[in-house]
Every structure is written in C-alpha cells, then in structure tokens.
Assembly symmetry: C2
C-alpha cells in the first residue's frame, strides 16, 4: 500500500458519504442545478457585509512595506489587541493580546496537539461535528462520545459519568453543528462545577474547549454564554467563517482564560503547535482586516428567515419540527430509524441531506439551510412526499 | 503538567535559540534597530512585484457572489489548472489540475500525514531546515539524518546506505535552507536511480519529496531541475512565500507526478489530510491572485546584489566564502568548531546569526541576507573583528 494505512482507512470509512455527494453531483448534471435541492453543505450563502468588503479594499490599497511578510507567529499585536478588547467587553474578564493566537483554521488541531499526551481522552457530546474525531486523533488522543438529551441539551450526568482518569478535555460546540442547539448559562455553569470537581478528584486539570464558529448566528434573542466567564481552565476557538461569511479565507483565533493553570505553557504550546503544524501564522491580509471589524457580523435576519421558511414548511407537510436556536442547520428526526435509508429516499426527490449517523446522531438527518430561499420553498413538497411514503 | 509532555520538551529544546532571539530583541531596545545587524530570520525584505499588487487589487475589486466561500478542498479548479499548465511547460510532463492540491502552508505536514505509517522513516540530508523534524514527527514518522559533502552536495552513497526497509521517503530541499546549495540534474538523476533500485530491493515504494520554496531564487544562471522529470514516485511542495514575497499570506501547492504508483490514493490522501489537519483549503483570495500570476517572481537581482555584498565583504575581512547558488542564506564555516560560541561572539558585536547546530550543521552559522544593504555593509567590520579574535 502506498499511503498510510490509517489514511486509507479514513478514506474508505467516508466512502459512503462521498458516494452520496457524487450521486448529488450526478443528479445536478442530469436535472440542472436549480432542480436539485442541496442541503448537504455548510457553505454560507449570505454574502460578507458591505462594510467588510470596504475595509478589505482599504487594507489592500494601503502601501505599507512588509505587509505580506511574516509577523509574530501568534499574529499581529494590534489584531490580537483589538480582539482582546472586544472579548473583554463581551465577558467579565480583562483579556490581553497575550491570551490570543490568530489561526488559519485548525484551531482545534492546535489545541489538541498542545494538550494531549498519547491516549488521553477528549469527551464529546453527540451529535457532534464529524471532523472532531480526526482532530483528536491527529493530536494522539482518544475520543469518548457521550449522549445528550432528546432536545440536544447537555446531559450533565452522562458527562460526569464519562470522565475518567485519562480525560484531558471536554469539547463542546455551541451553537451546535449539526443540531443548532445553544447551551445556556445554567448548563455551562453546571458543566464548570462538574469539571472543577472531577479535576480535583483525579488530580488532573480537565480543560473545557469550546468551539464557537456559529457564536454570532443565533435567533429569537438567544445569547451564547461565555465559557471564559464560567470556568478558568477554558479555551475558546472562534472563526470568522460564518460570522463574516469568509470560510474560504481561513481566519480565526484561540483565546485562553487568563487564569488557566500553566497559562504560559499553554500559550507557548499553542504558538509552537500552530507553527510546527505548518500554519505558522494566520493570513496577513485578513488579520489586518479583522483588526478593523470587531463586532461586525452578517445579517442574521436572513438565516432566521430561511430557518422559519424551512421549519414552517416542514411542519406544514407533517413533520414534527423544533426550531433550532442557532447555526444554520436543522437536525430533523427521521420517521424511520434508518436515517441513511431516509436520506436516500429524499435523494430520489432530488433533495440532498446528510444522514445523522455521520454525526453520531442516527435517526436524524442534517438539513443545512444556508441556501437560497427558492431551494427551501421548492423542496418542501418532496419532503412531504417522502414522509407519506414512510407513514 | 498541563500541556503534552512532548510539546513541553519541544519548547525546552528550543529554549537556547529562543534565548538568543530574546537577547537580540534586548540589544535592539538598547542600541536601536539600526545598530543591530539582524541576519537571523528568513523573512524576505524584497517587496512583492508591483504587478502582483495590481492583480490583488483587481481580484479584491471584483464583485463575485461566493468569492470568499468554501471551494473544493483541493483548491479552485482554475487555479490548479493554471499551475498545471505552467508546470507542464517547465517539465517534460503533461500535468493536470488533478495532480495539484493548493495549500495554506503545511504542505510537508500534509504529505507526511498522507504517507507515513507509525515508525516509517524519512531520510533527510543535513544541514536541513529545522522544522522538518517536527513535520515528520507530526506524521508519526522517524527522521533519519544523513550527511552531505563538504560543499553541501548530496552524498549519494550516504543516502543509499541510510535507506532501510522502513524508509518511506527521502526529503530534499533545493535551493537549500540553510546552505543555498542547488542540486544539479546529474545529482537528482543519480538519486532517482538509487531510489528506484532500493524500492525494488525492499519491495516498498520510496517516495522522493522535494521542498522547493526557494525554487525561483537562484543566481548566475543556475537552474533547479524538476524532480518530476527524474523520478515517477515524486511529490514537490512549492510555496509563493519567497518567489512573490508573500510568506504572511500562506499560499502554495503540492504537485504529484502523474505516474506515481497509487496516484489516486495519494491525491485522495493529500486532500483528506489537508482537510482533517484543519487547513481545509488554501486562502480563497490568494488562490484567485495566484491563478493570474504564474511565472511571476520578485526581482532576484536584488538578492544577488545582497549575496555579493555579503560574500565579497566577508572575503575582504578574511573569511573563506563560497557563494551560495540560491535561496538567501550563507552557511558560513566558523573558524572554531563551536558555532554557538562563535555566534555569541558575533552577538557582542550586535550581529545576530543562527548557529549551524540547529540545522544539523555544527561548525557553521546561518546568515540570512534578506536584509537591507546597509545592514550588510555595516556588519562587515564586526564580522572581521570577531574573526581576528579567534585566529
């Protein structure tokens, strides 16, 4: 065999989902893009804010020597300072640029590489973003999955029971991909108490790692509580991919709580791992732009409209739907246990979704509604037809 | 301990070099930037070409929907096509976009993650770029160092002797960091013969991985032969960091030989590893720019002038200097065996260099001459003074 066995195995494992994607492409070729309702990808279709584009043009127009050169690996001091100031307003903490590392994607890979000794465990509530298992494995760790409640709220007892002497971190993702669930302040507080207690019990620090790329995409007045306010041994990974519709540009950051135990080792480790994994630094141009647009976000009202269009539409044809609180995914309970079979039936109606099994949530499908309104409207009849088939 | 033992150890290992960097910063604070001669960093000080800046402004000005969105993980088809066309002209092969993966830095991490099973070996001629050991280790492999000749030419016998049943790849870097050596076509051809023979002998494919970020920075009519023309099981990693003075923007690519055995597995593995390591895709904006500027490069004449200024200057104060053929480093033999002591002596004259021990080349210092002409001119006397002290 030419390539590594593990990589060969990863490719084989994902062959069924790749096959579905390829069939989707085939459907588009056959029926035309506009006649295939593709809800399979989390690629934001809302454009970046006009003011962001303006700032980008300004930054590109500036004639500064060395503006595309290397900067400190952690990122431009002024960018990190702007973010620290913004986060200090959003939390009850005083954050400094020294607590921030700019990232070019890969924040979780950098965090797990920094933290994990071989075999140490990262506990993740299911359903979870598919890639998390890879990130933990890349860092030499072991993923331990625990369930959530039926409404996707954290099952705190399951988390506490899942912690062992090998647990190095708990990874949460709120607003959640694939469920759209937002963990409220009470849940985060209760989680913090469990982590403090278990850290004491085992004599090891258990870190709380919070992945929050959908932090700004929330509806109906819901807010995402700061994990930094709740638990000192916490790290938060943020990305501008969804907040500013810039996923192709690869720009985000990691922030560590100033009172993290061994904070200097952690920051040193994050910068080192960002470097040796080959990221080296986040893209220079986008760092300069980001320094100027703290607090800016896309028009979330557009995603809310799409969410309502989808949820109301599905309800009108007979689905039991609970509206997600954030992100742009609906994790829909399937009328049969076999979510792959259900996704395949939808595919016959030219509706592309992802079976929940891929996210550790069988009996569901993920519907990414970051698509044109027309796509949503035109797919509802097909969703209704398939539901009837299985009833 | 908070962070992973290995990362803690990596940090500790590099503490001496970090200490020298910090002392350098302290010197600058004390004497002023202009009075410290900093040859320690490979951060190009030649500006990107004006035409590149123009293309960047044009690309930023275009109003295309989804221009900052995700694209296929391997990169935009049109960017990869432009590169494939360019490389087809530079080599004797017909390359297609399917042989290319756009990278955001990390090309070698992606390659080694794709290829290496735990414990498999990567053979690297010394002196070598410091980070290579990390990249191999990240992929779960083991680095095996072999010597080069006194003039830094490949020691083909040492390479052949260093190959074992565990050898998965040989990594070369030409033009070389830290030596500036360019391996000529005869050397690459001879290496290819060895790799073919040893692959047959052990019944394993031994890949040739060629890291060529300095490919375009060559002097005196020297050319860098294409490894793709010499050996079918080869992969080349390229970066625009130096060719276009864009290191802060993180843009490059991997190209695989079309006749690589298991080419589909390799390309699939590269795309998968680029994704799961968190790079996902190379920055969108820069990919669009790159599609328009194939063959463009910085004014290499500027680096040549700096090289001559440095080499002639050092010769004039008594050093034995052989002019490097490429890159922007001089790997200078130190008059005493202890290169760290020599670098420390230079530091007293406010001249910052990096001891060769860090590159697996003790008895040398690396002088990065990608600095202002004035810095070079003003440092020569200090270099002379220190040489006299040790004679």
């Amino acid at each position: 065999m030419a390539i590594a066995d593990k990589i060969q195995w990863f490719i084989a494992q994902s062959s069924w989902i790749r096959k579905m994607f390829e069939e989707g492409i085939q459907l588009k070729r056959e029926f035309g893009d506009e006649n295939v309702f593709d809800f399979s990808l989390g690629n934001p279709n809302v454009e970046p804010p006009e003011e962001l584009k303006k700032e980008l043009r300004l930054v590109v127009g500036e004639d500064l020597p060395g503006k595309h050169a290397y900067m400190p690996n952690a990122g431009y001091p002024e960018t990190r300072e702007a973010i620290a100031d913004f986060l200090s307003l959003e939390s009850n903490l005083t954050l400094l640029r020294d607590h921030i590392v700019m990232t070019a994607g890969g924040a979780l890979n950098v965090i797990f590489k920094t933290l994990l000794n071989p075999g140490e465990e990262v506990l993740i509530p299911a359903p979870y973003f598919v890639e998390y298992r890879f990130y933990v494995d890349n860092g030499g760790g072991v993923t331990r999955i625990v369930p959530t409640h039926a409404d996707f709220a954290l099952d705190l007892q399951a988390i506490e029971d899942g912690i062992t002497e090998k647990t190095k971190a708990v990874l949460i993702n709120s607003p959640n991909n694939p469920t759209g669930k937002v963990y409220d302040a009470a849940a985060i507080h209760a989680l913090a108490i469990i982590l403090s207690r278990q850290s004491r019990e085992y004599g090891n620090i258990i870190y709380l790692v919070s992945d929050e790329p959908y932090r700004d995409i929330v509806y109906d007045g819901v807010t995402v509580p700061s994990v930094l306010d709740a638990y000192p041994n916490s790290l938060m990974a943020f990305s501008y991919s969804k907040s500013l519709s810039l996923p192709g540009e690869r720009i985000g950051y990691i922030v560590a709580h100033p009172d993290c135990e061994h904070i200097l080792d952690i920051m040193g480790g994050l910068v080192l791992c960002n470097r040796i994994l080959g990221f080296v630094n986040a893209p220079a141009l986008m760092q300069r732009v980001i320094a100027r647009v703290q607090g800016m976000k896309v028009d979330v009202g557009i995603y809310k409209r799409k969410r309502d269009l989808l949820c109301d539409g599905l309800a009108s044809v007979g689905y039991a739907v609970q509206k997600p609180e954030g992100a742009f995914y609906l994790f829909l309970k399937t009328p049969i246990a076999d979510d792959v079979a259900f996704a395949r039936a939808l595919q016959k109606e030219r509706i592309l979704t992802v079976p929940g099994s891929g996210f550790g949530g069988p009996g569901h499908i993920r519907i990414a509604y970051c698509v044109d309104d027309e796509t949503i409207r035109n797919a509802i009849a097909g969703f209704g037809k398939v539901l009837k088939e299985f009833k």
